[in-house]
Amino acid sequence: MNELVVVSAGLSVPSSTRLLGDRLAAATAAHTGAEVRVIELRDLAVEIAHHLTSGFPGPALADALDAVTGAAGLIVVTPVFSASYSGLFKSFFDVLGAWDKDALAGTPVLIAATGGTARHSLVLDHALRPLFAYLRAVVAPTGVYAASEDWGAEGLPERVERAAGELAALTAGLSGRVPAARPEAGGFTVVPFAEQLAALRD
């Protein structure tokens, strides 16, 4: 449960999106000592598309959804396509929401994006932040955007370090979350029927 999970929507190999995800993960893990798992959406692209038509995940996608749902902290990185996150990135979180609408509720998330120029850096706050707010994640105040030029300029390591520090603090602060006690069966949380019925009679 104390895994730090990176979701990278980079498409090329090697990809600067993945590179940014790795940097952020290493910086965060330096604080928390959490194990890091990286999920490359490229490898799941076909299963994600199939989920959209069939309504259920294939084995590799199910495994990734489980990992993200159980993550103590999440680092999400997307390239900017057409002024927003990539379609693959969004589809993964669409599928996650359909799988379990509470999958990210209360999960600390660090948002990050890459692009050719700095002109799209507000994509973090105009696109990614609302998406994760909708999923009821706790989004770290600092998002990290890396344009191509940033890889040869000053400032990126500091932003990575600041964001990682925030994610580490959120992860530590929220790790004591205790789910409400309910009878459990078959891995589901059950609201006793009498309670369901009573709620309608109020």
Partner: protein, 373 residues
Amino acid sequence: MQFGIFSVGDVTPDPTTGRTPTERERVKAMVAIALKAEEVGLDVFATGEHHNPPFVPSSPTTLLGYIAARTERLVLSTSTTLITTNDPVKIAEDFAMLQQLADGRVDLMTGRGNTGPVYPWFGKDIRQGINLAIENYALLHRLWREDVVDWEGKFRTPLQGFTSTPRPLDGVPPFVWHGSIRSPEIAEQAAYYGDGFFHNNIFWPADHTKRMIELYRNRWAHYGHGAPEQAIVGLGGQVFMRKNSQDAVREFRPYFDNAPVYGHGPSLEDFTAQTPLTVGSPQQVIDKTLSFREYAGDYQRQLFLMDHAGLPLKTVLEQLDLLGEQVVPVLREEFAKNRPANVPDAPTHASLLAARAKGDEKKSDEKAEVSTV
């Protein structure tokens, strides 16, 4: 154990010819398929309920009443009856009427439906889906068990001194299965009432089905209806068969690839590996169906989806011949092996009537004992 078929009632072009049946042809085909089910020795025919094209069965009790008149043994059921958007009073009346006409060969499966706009079309709020299912069924349950009902709820006008007619045949309400694919609340509801739970697993991996059934069985025991293994479980299945499995795959592939539900998605091979769909020889169908028991436990009802995706009637009738002649007899034999004696069969009108008579006897014995003391 009961074996049968369930139909969605879709009007879909045959992808190999491009021809779309008329609604009349499709309605009549559903009847022909039901009659065939009885002829080949199946136990159950269930129809879906839909209120939008390309589906024809909007009026299940009309269809089932017609089939009832032309069959003798077949149990008539639904897959599903919309407990959310139908008036529970009308469900109580329609199915009691059908039950009277069909001499008790009737049960039904309640469901919430999966077509969003049906809620507003019938004046309901989709956000209340679960609550509608809970309240409407609570009323339906009373209407069949109490001769005069006073009732007030959130979603329907109140009832004062209402009697739903006709009363259930012999005072025994039709057995109810609660169908749900993903909602633990519905498994909980089925368990609470001691009703059946049907998991339409046909588009789902085994692991998910297993968890839903486990939930239902455990909660059934929690509510004191018996041991978990005595709960009443139904499962879906989906098959296409030919004597040689290669022929089955070749013939079914265009229907699979263009099917309204999963077409243009995963490959036939992936889908058969991950879901209950079997495309192959009768023996492969037997093996796959028997494997359901490994994760669902000993269960009571197995329904197969046979007529969809534009398969021509002639093909569907051939499939039913194979199902009835080569598959189901073997399944009956195999499922009966090692089946614990305490696992009940699916309730029928006769078994419910007998159980009630036994209960009455026990009660009057108790009374007699009390009076002699």
